[in-house]
Amino acid sequence: MRSKPVSDAHARYLKSIRRDARHVRLSQIGILLFVLLLWEIGADLRWFDPFILSSPSRVIATIARLYADGSLWLHIGTTLSETVLGFLLGTALGALIAVLLWWLPKLNRILDPYLVVLNALPKIALGPVLIVWIGAGMASIVVMGVLVSLVVTTVTVLNGFLAATDEKQLLMRTLGATKLQIFTKVVLPAGVPDLISALKISVGMSWVGVIVGEYLVSKAGLGYLIVYGGQVFKLDLVMASVAILCVLAALMYYAVAFLEKKVRT
């Protein structure tokens, strides 16, 4: 959008595009400020009970208190490391399984119904089972994050691989390519867009898995804070944790989107 105008009309066009972009950005910030302001004023004027709905100032105060007693970074660090670990392991493993299934079409056919069921199954239903199997600790939570992102990655990436047409593969054979070369030069590049959308889906999925995992079993983390806050009616703590979660999830999503931009260009 920083291109040089080539004529007056083009200059006007570029200007209108920039103005539009500015409007969109300002409106986005405006909505956020408006909601926060309404929330704060509503709490101040007792339109609702701030004990139940909290308020922005109470949320900030809560975060400041967590920061002051040093537990803020512990909780953020715990949840973030669980999520990142679950996400990375889940997508790496999922992509690897997709490669294996592409390589062995018969195995793919055999496993197809299982994959369909696993994909449809809400993985968090397995939470209690995982705790029994793996133990009530961080490992269970990470495995939950892995499970939730693994199957969706496998299914999405495999579909991307299978989209590489037979004809392109035939072309590679006329050039004398081995199966590995067909994979690296035709199938993998064809699957890259799906790989990236799989990343985008599973980055959100991992948060779901980890937070639910923390609900079930944890001694620290944002999910822990939310459950704890709910049990002892500290809604400020719940809201503060959710707010932090929003920021973290957005940051991670934009990191993946940034990666996508890098890959695409």
Binding site: E167, L170, L171, R173, T174, L175, G176, A177, Q181, K185
Partner: protein, 248 residues
């Protein structure tokens, strides 16, 4: 023009599908000599592409033998469609075959780039295939095949997707490349004029299953390019003969 390059003896091919068996080729005998330009014409779906696939070794024949007279004969196959890889630039598409065969050297790369320059694509090396016209794409696919420096070129209707003028020009160019580099070629085409204007010999296939119905030697000298051949009085005689043979 003397020694044999490739001999097909009693070759048959049947495709197996759940619904049944399609006999695509039955008892086909065909020879091609070194330096020869052979054209194959035949009704649609008679098994022409299948013959090229067999020669290239992409499929096993059901019966008969395909003998290669020259040890490690290098073949280059140009498919019916260009199949350029969208995520690669023109340059990288052209180098694909060399890369796959681990033959990418300074010299083979220079040779491929020279081909691009020669055929007017030098300025488009860093373009993506989506940014090229149909004729240019077809040329890139041809250069991708030529970059492998094959002794025998297998061309499957390489010009069928092009408009008439591009088609005539491109076939003229391809002809010059093949003749200048003393390559052998098998051209599959629907277009009788194209066959007569390029080939030393035209093989007419019967309807499926493909068998050799007639072989018609074309008497034009190899040095005469396609556009000039089309102007010869005898051109139409060849055309008519092949036309007759193609009638069921």
């Amino acid at each position: 023009m003397q020694s044999e390059l490739l001999t097909l003896t009693g070759v048959s091919l049947a495709y197996q599908t759940v619904a049944g068996e399609t006999v695509a080729i039955r008892d086909l005998n065909l020879k091609i000599k070194e330096g020869e330009f052979l054209a194959i014409v035949g009704p649609s779906g008679c098994g022409k592409t299948s013959v090229l696939s067999l020669i290239m070794g992409l499929l096993p024949q059901s019966a008969g033998t395909i003998r290669c007279e020259k040890p490690d004969l290098r073949m280059g196959y140009m498919l019916q469609r260009d199949h350029l890889l969208d995520h690669r630039t023109v340059e990288k598409n052209v180098l694909l075959g060399l890369e796959v065969q681990h033959r990418l050297t300074e010299q083979s790369r220079a040779n491929a780039m020279h081909l691009l320059d020669t055929y007017g694509l030098g300025d488009f090396k860093s373009y993506k295939p989506q940014q090229l016209s149909g004729g240019m794409r077809q040329k890139v696919a041809l250069i991708r095949t030529l970059a492998l420096e094959p002794d025998l070129l297998l061309l499957d209707e390489p010009f069928s997707a092009l408009d008439y003028q591009t088609r005539l020009n491109l076939s003229d160019e391809v002809y010059r490349i093949i003749r200048r580099e003393h390559k052998s070629a098998i051209l599959v085409t629907h277009d009788i004029s194209e066959a007569v204007s390029m080939a030393d010999r035209v093989a007419v296939f019967s309807a499926r299953p493909a068998a050799l119905k007639a072989e018609i030697p074309i008497g034009f000298p190899a040095s005469m390019p396609p556009l000039e051949r089309r102007r010869q009085a005898t051109f139409h005689d060849y055309f008519d003969r092949i036309w007759e043979e193609l009638q069921p």
